[in-house]
């Protein structure tokens, strides 16, 4: 990883008694596109505002370019922000909006107008300089907000759900433009979003937050394929999750587990007998068979098939009522609704998540666990 340009060390933030950012540790590498992804209210904006200087962390240290910033005002930090609401100055035209940062830095007039023109062409807004924000569409306002921030050549650009208010089509287009802009300028982007698809397609790395806690940070493929927590598995894409107890492992790392309704199989490099874990398997990796499959005891009934273009999604209800989603690629045979089938998967396609608490999970209340509980973590 390249040198860290922003470091967040053991940062906590309280609003009164409300603990909104919990023990956050994060290094943001120079030049990377890092997304902070999580549901609404999980502390994304607060994290961004602490980096920008609008909020002061209750505990912990934030450094930008190696310097601690807690005593620096927002106007003294070499970061710029694109706000969720754009926050354009309504009483200034586009040119004056974009030029504002340079004027504050007392840059010479001819240089300002040259750089404004440059910035506007970078966001494809040539010729819009004389317009006022109220005379622009949502997408155009968004571009002005971006131009107004990047004209200052910040080392880090913070973006708070910048595309949240745009319609789907424009959103997709802006995603591509933003990503290209970031590559071209080489600025570090810290991009807040609650849209997992957006994060997966745009980012070099993704930090997944939930309830103030950083659940996982990594490249998109790892976040998707090797979720570190149940929350990440659930939040990113669709998945089928089973609560299970690890029973035995073979030399190849294939692990036999006992779930509420019977045995299942996965792969785990950190096998620990008797530990309660989650097993997550994506719909496109979940398979159906008419005959029982050795190592899997999940019997279910097909409830419905939904055709959604490239795939057909089949919902299977297991004996215990759990719903399982299966995605059949186009062209493959689709089971009839009402038919009874066995659910299984390739052990290497299942991800095993070690539950942090190691507590007996509610779902096991009615199962005799006495033979497994000893030695659980």
């Amino acid at each position: 990883m390249a040198k860290a340009i922003v470091e967040i060390k053991n940062v906590n933030k309280f609003y009164g008694d409300n603990h909104v950012v919990k023990d956050l540790n994060m290094e943001i590498a120079e030049g990377e596109f890092l997304s902070i992804l999580g549901p609404s209210g999980c502390g994304k904006t607060t994290t961004l505002r602490m980096i920008a200087g609008f909020e002061q962390q209750t505990q912990g240290v934030i450094t930008v370019e190696g310097e601690r910033v807690e005593n620096k005002e927002p106007f003294e930090r070499n970061v710029n922000t694109v706000f969720q609401s754009y926050a354009l100055f309504p009483h200034m035209n586009v040119t004056d909006n974009v030029a504002y940062g340079l004027k504050m830095k007392k840059v010479k007039k001819p240089e300002i107008s040259e750089r404004v023109e440059n910035a506007l062409s970078m966001v494809q807004l040539e010729g819009f300089g004389k317009r006022f924000p109220a005379q622009l569409s949502g997408g155009q306002r968004q571009r002005v907000a971006i131009a107004r921030a990047i004209i200052n050549n910040p080392r880090v650009l913070l973006l708070d759900e910048p595309l949240g208010a745009l319609d789907m089509k424009l959103r997709k287009q802006m995603q591509i433009e933003l990503k290209n802009l970031q590559k071209r300028l080489g600025i570090t982007f810290v991009y807040v979003t609650h849209d997992q698809e957006e994060a997966l397609t745009m980012s070099d790395r993704i930090a997944v937050m939930n309830d103030g806690v950083l659940e996982q940070i990594g490249v998109p493929a790892d976040i998707y394929e090797k979720p570190a927590t149940k929350f990440v598995a659930d939040f990113i894409g669709e998945t089928n999750i089973f609560e299970a107890i690890e029973v035995s492992a073979d030399a190849a790392g294939q692990v036999a587990l006992k779930s509420e309704i019977g045995e299942i199989t996965g792969t785990d490099s950190e096998f620990s007998e008797g530990e309660i874990v989650y097993l997550s398997v994506r719909p496109e990796k979940t398979l159906l068979s008419a005959a029982p499959v050795s190592g899997y005891a999940l019997r279910g009934t097909v409830r419905e098939n939904i055709y959604i273009g490239t795939v057909t999604k089949t919902t299977v209800i297991l004996q215990n009522g759990q719903e399982i989603r299966v995605a059949n690629a186009a062209g493959s045979s689709v089971p009839e609704a009402g038919s009874a089938l066995y659910v299984y998967w390739n052990p290497s396609d299942a991800v095993i998540i070690h539950s942090k608490s190691g507590k007996i999970i509610d779902a096991f209340e009615n199962v005799d666990l006495s033979e497994y509980v000893e030695g659980s973590a």
Binding site: F75, Q84, S85, A87, M104, A134
Partner: protein, 269 residues
Amino acid sequence: MRRRRKNAIKKHTSRVFSALVYLFLYAPIAVVILFSFNTSKRNVLFEGFTLDWYAKMAGNTALLESFKNTLLVAGISTAIATVIGTITAIAMFRYKFRGKSIIDLLLYIPVVIPEIVLGIALLSVFSLVNVPLGLGSMIVAHVTFQIPFIVFTVRARLSGFDRSIEDAAMDLGANRIKVLTGITIPIIAPGIVSGAVLAFTLSIDDIIISFFTTGAKSTTFPLKIMELVRSGVSPDVYALSTIIILATFVIVLISQITVYRANKKSVKL
């Protein structure tokens, strides 16, 4: 057919009705303007056109002096009240503090309290702390009743204000003072202007509070007219009134245009 006729009648009645309302509102003003050009001193019949009353008014130093006092009091008190009221409104918008709703309520009291009570109260305070009555005391008194009006209009303007606009300015390198003078105040300027215009007009035609807080040598225009009316209004008062009406009209027009322009720029943001 019938329906169309009914609609036509409806349309007509509403027009006639509006015309009557406007007549009711503006007829007295028209009469004042008309009689300021009347040759007869008695305001019963219009006997002929003259500008004599304007000439006479220009020579009536007592009347002009009172008018000057009125402008002075209104100008200075409006300036002071606008600054204090605007700062108060911004502070109340920006900061949450305990007892904020009580402060809110306290702002309404001077507005709804009978003016005569406020007048007596101010008079007793002035005599309590030995403030000599005169233009100074009157200015202080006017500032007190103007402030709530400024706070209300500025606050109304602030209610749609997006705080992240201030954050954005600071993010781009503006310190707090530049944010206030270059961003916040220009954006809420229409509210400040209409508050100031309202405060100014309230001050200009105030009688009750002025009556209690004025000194012997510092009578204002409304007070002077009250005094004159006892011995019958002379048309030179009409002449000065006509000029005031015109001036008011111009001020209102200008302020409306400013507010309209500012609004047009910042709609939907």
